[in-house]
Symmetry: C2
Subunit: 439 residues, 2 copies
Amino acid sequence: MSKKVINTQVMQGFMELSPIQQRVFDSMLATIRTAYERFGFIGIETPILEREEVLLAKAGGDTEKQIYRFVKGDNKIAMRFDHTVPLARYVVEHMSDLTFPFRRHAIGKVYRGERPQKGRYREFYQADIDVIGRGQLPLSFDAEIPSVIYQIFKELDLGPFLISVNNRKILNGFFVDLGIQDSIVEILREIDKLEKVGAQAVRQSLVDLGITPETVDQILSFIGLNGSTDEILGGLQNLRVTNSDYLKGLEELTEVVKLMRAFGIPDSHFAVNLTIARGLDYYTGTVYETKLTQHPEIGSVCSGGRYDNLAETFTNESLPGVGISIGVTRLFSQLWALGLLKPMASSPSIVLVAPMTDDLSNAISIVADIRNADIPAEVYFNGGGLRKSLGYANQLGIPYVIIIGEDEIASGKITLKRMSDGSQSVYSSIEEVLETIRS
Amino acid sequence: MSKKVINTQVMQGFMELSPIQQRVFDSMLATIRTAYERFGFIGIETPILEREEVLLAKAGGDTEKQIYRFVKGDNKIAMRFDHTVPLARYVVEHMSDLTFPFRRHAIGKVYRGERPQKGRYREFYQADIDVIGRGQLPLSFDAEIPSVIYQIFKELDLGPFLISVNNRKILNGFFVDLGIQDSIVEILREIDKLEKVGAQAVRQSLVDLGITPETVDQILSFIGLNGSTDEILGGLQNLRVTNSDYLKGLEELTEVVKLMRAFGIPDSHFAVNLTIARGLDYYTGTVYETKLTQHPEIGSVCSGGRYDNLAETFTNESLPGVGISIGVTRLFSQLWALGLLKPMASSPSIVLVAPMTDDLSNAISIVADIRNADIPAEVYFNGGGLRKSLGYANQLGIPYVIIIGEDEIASGKITLKRMSDGSQSVYSSIEEVLETIRS
């Protein structure tokens, strides 16, 4: 039958969804977008293609290798790999059109030519918010950002979740205080592995870095501080570290926790976690990670933090910011695989009008009335009797079918079938039908 | 001040909007998406990157030269240049997950490396709908599609518009009847220019093609048929052409016009226009173009038609379809340049909470209440007195400011300032404030 000489599958690492999956995915995106806007973030879109020099200005290491790049005419072109570098360029380019602090959201696809593996995509949605200050940015925003996370994951209804918060200044100051600041990058890298490999393995790695066992003990008891949020903050006070970065970080974290509570985030949904470092060069203050408590295997579903300088590669102007990113494609694919997403009808239609006569004008006029009432609807034009119409509605999850036969046309009545239980009722006007559907 | 060694402008042919423009653009997209879904079209997303062989299978001529292509690893990759080829691939690949007739919408960016010129973009949004049948597709869909166009352009509120409709079988049959079928492609190309160059120039071009002056006269009086829709349909009857394609096309067009009226499209908003051919190989029946009556210089803002075979390069299965496409980026940029788009506030926020005290908890608790009532809101955390808060609200077009000073905290009252007229009222509860804002 088929003459498929051309492979119609999408390329490896690209996600393409069936109609039923797409509706669920789109509804996740819509929940995120609506929440971002409820918090006053302005949606900004940048091109997917950028001058290569713009993206390479900030990329490095693995990211640089993963960038899709090509030449077209005289242009060296690259595909964006995140929303942050384009945001930096955008803010510098449109500075005079912006009002600061600039609250912007960006929801769109980014591209990384990663080695394909489970849960990793080469084309994927990131949904970001950032607040950018000009010269300075109050700490209160560091507390508002997790309140957006809290709201979104509550609305996504994916079960219990925990927002972990930390401050990079505490980590940095603590290590300076111990006299091991030269190894900060290596130490943070090992600490980041704590949850994966356990304390014993981290202890060994730190000793291997040449750190004395006594200092390793201090590091491990520091990052091992536990208890309630207030107990951890108290524990950090009690360590009597005198380094000014440490004290500044502790003061910030204490204030952020206080304001997170003011924003209505319950203590059950956030925790101070001293092991979180998030990227080694970029973040300079508050950092966040978010996990679904019952599915730690998914990893962090929303991460971010505070940075001193958004756009240092493009301008000398100081542009501090704080933001987060949700990797929506990865999140969706893992949740779908785990069966955690509630299925939806694949069609947006609420009503299918099924004409049983050759003359379609009645059916068409009824569907127009329904649409004018802002209810998604369509006509089944393919004929073939009631069974075929009902099969179509059933497959697409359309909840109501209006049957228009000779009898209905003659009597001016409308027969409405509810697909969930097969019940049928007769109404004498379209208004009555609309009322029933709305209720 | 600036160390801009890197060019932060977007590349030529790429559109990037200021916040104020972006909000207007996004609202156009939202109007289109909502209408598509009200008509029961299912949103489907395909990757922006495809295997090169998929896109080249159907491209040709200029399009092929314009495609962005590159190699990454072992993959020959191309960027989609429309939504139709990806739709063909999608339908073949996901056949077993689809229910036919398959109504799908696709709203997203496509890429063409065209020579940059006014109103032409290299990255631009297309917003498509198509209905795809398996084996057959009733003609009623050909009438429903323009009813979607009618609805959308009414809602976009861009002034008067006219949907032109024609049927390719009428054109083809007429030329066969005249015995000039071998020159159909060339003749249609000249006829397509009629509006631009005028009847006299077209007459000369047709004579230059070797067509006898008598036949040219017949062609010109055929495409010059005018009057009301019914008069043109009558005129086509009266020509007494006996070619079966012609008669079939006339029968289809007559039925489509009848059903378009049943769908509620007023005669003021559509017309039969025999000069419309739309693409020479692709469309096989009904074809559409849409123009803003007062701005013909913009060209067609929504075009499409009926085709016999969506996916012949991927499958032997017959998949007839009918669809349209709106070039949203181009439409937006021209309307914006003409000043035809109503400006919107650049921020989604309806309320700015302006704390006048150091303690921010009251302001934060109030903004949380407002957001919980589903009203977009934010706090001005930057301090600097009332003047700075009002300046921020003013620049972003935020219509209400709630002022929280010592007095308000002491008395438990809330001061609400309406930015449009500067009026200020005091309320004793947040519920009262919310009521005022909602009304």
